[in-house]
């Protein structure tokens, strides 16, 4: 049990306990730790934004290399500051429009390709998809179950007709697939949350208290 003498490890340990104290109930130690986290995390954010984004990609091209083109992005960027001047605060919409516009445009083809076209490709009943499971003849059965599952799940989220008759049956099957999917997500989420706790105990028992090496 050789407890560490490194002051920083002690600071980490005490901050860990401050957060764990929330288990008892919300208390000043937890609030202190949480606000410190937001403060230091944003200090870190500011450091890299200035040193690795603004200086190398705006200030040095503009001021050291004298490339006057960069006055344009500099000016449009400064429009964000107008938000604090009520009379011209609408100017902040210009940089926002440019950012939202380009991103919203780039999302559409990306979504159509990755979330629709390729997903359709993975569901089509065809011999090469059967072999893709490399489970021999079972591959046909797996592909058919997958096909039915996708069709029924889609029918569950169909809102233009009452869920009666055929649509009633398919949406009943659909909800079964959805629940199995949620169960799988639930099982894996338990694993994820528990792993985080194991990681914290590996720190407390290891580097801090020296119980395990």
């Amino acid at each position: 049990m050789n407890i560490t003498h490194d002051p920083w490890v002690w600071i980490s340990g005490l901050l860990t306990i401050c957060i764990l104290s929330f288990l008892y109930r919300d208390n000043p130690f937890y609030k202190f730790a949480e606000h410190l986290f937001v403060g230091v995390a944003n200090g870190y954010f500011l450091t890299f934004t200035v040193h690795r984004v603004l200086i190398p990609n705006l200030f040095s091209p503009l001021f050291n290399e004298g490339r006057l083109f960069f006055i344009l992005p500099f000016m449009v960027g400064m429009l964000y500051v107008m938000r604090f001047i009520t009379r011209v605060s609408w100017l902040v919409r210009i940089p926002i429009a440019v950012t939202i516009g380009y991103y919203t445009g780039a999302v559409i083809p990306a979504t159509v390709q990755a979330d629709i076209i390729r997903q359709i490709q993975g569901t089509i009943l065809t011999p090469s998809n059967f072999q893709a499971w490399n489970a021999g003849s079972n591959g046909i059965l797996w592909s058919v179950i997958l096909f039915i599952g996708v069709v029924c799940t889609l029918s569950y989220f169909y809102f233009s007709r009452e869920h009666k008759g055929v649509l009633g049956v398919t949406s009943r099957i659909g909800i079964i697939f959805i629940m199995i999917g949620f169960g799988a997500a639930f099982g894996y989420t338990v694993m994820a949350r528990v792993s985080l706790l194991i990681g914290r105990f590996q720190f407390i028992l290891g580097p801090w208290l020296g119980i395990i090496e």
Binding site: L20, F186, R193
Partner: protein, 219 residues
Amino acid sequence: MKRRFPLLLVFIFGIMGIIPYYIPHAAYQNFDNGLRNDFLRILSAFAIILGLVSLMRVHHDKIKRKRENWQFSYVLIIGFVVSGIIGLLGGVEGELFLPTRIAGFQFDIQTLYLNIIVPLGSTMFALLAFFMASASYRAFRARSLESSLLLGAAFIIMIGVLPLADRISTHLPSFAQWVMDIPNVAAKRGITFGIALGGIATSLKIILGIERSWLGGKE
């Protein structure tokens, strides 16, 4: 003017976001790359700086008005200012002029990161294991066919993932893998189609100026 010009901009840049997928010509690709690297990047950096400024204003305001928990806003602002100075004047690697080591005690930005941000961030989420345990015990009930199916599939995965599963039966891990590969993919793919179509609808409404909530404000 205050609304029409931004809506025109969002339309133009929306189209400019779509085109590069279809025009591989080097001239246009370099223009598109330049637009992102020299324009969007700098706007994003400014937005980050402004976001930090307004966060500090919110907490400064909270202190002035003595709202609930205002004392902890001091912790936040001091934490931000001290780590900001150490980072800006000390440099990413402690290479700038501000000394970041006094008699063996180092406090450059990376040390602050490893010993303040890491323990706080990871413990915050380690709490969830405890909440998961008490929720499993007090709230997760097989109250209907649906939730029973859900809990059943969860058990298969939770056991199938463990090395222990091999000892129970060699088929258990592959059955857990099967549950992930077939029924889970079918369900999540069906849901993804819906979300993808919803995403396209939202994007179109923004680009064509039908959805204007991002403009904010009345006039």
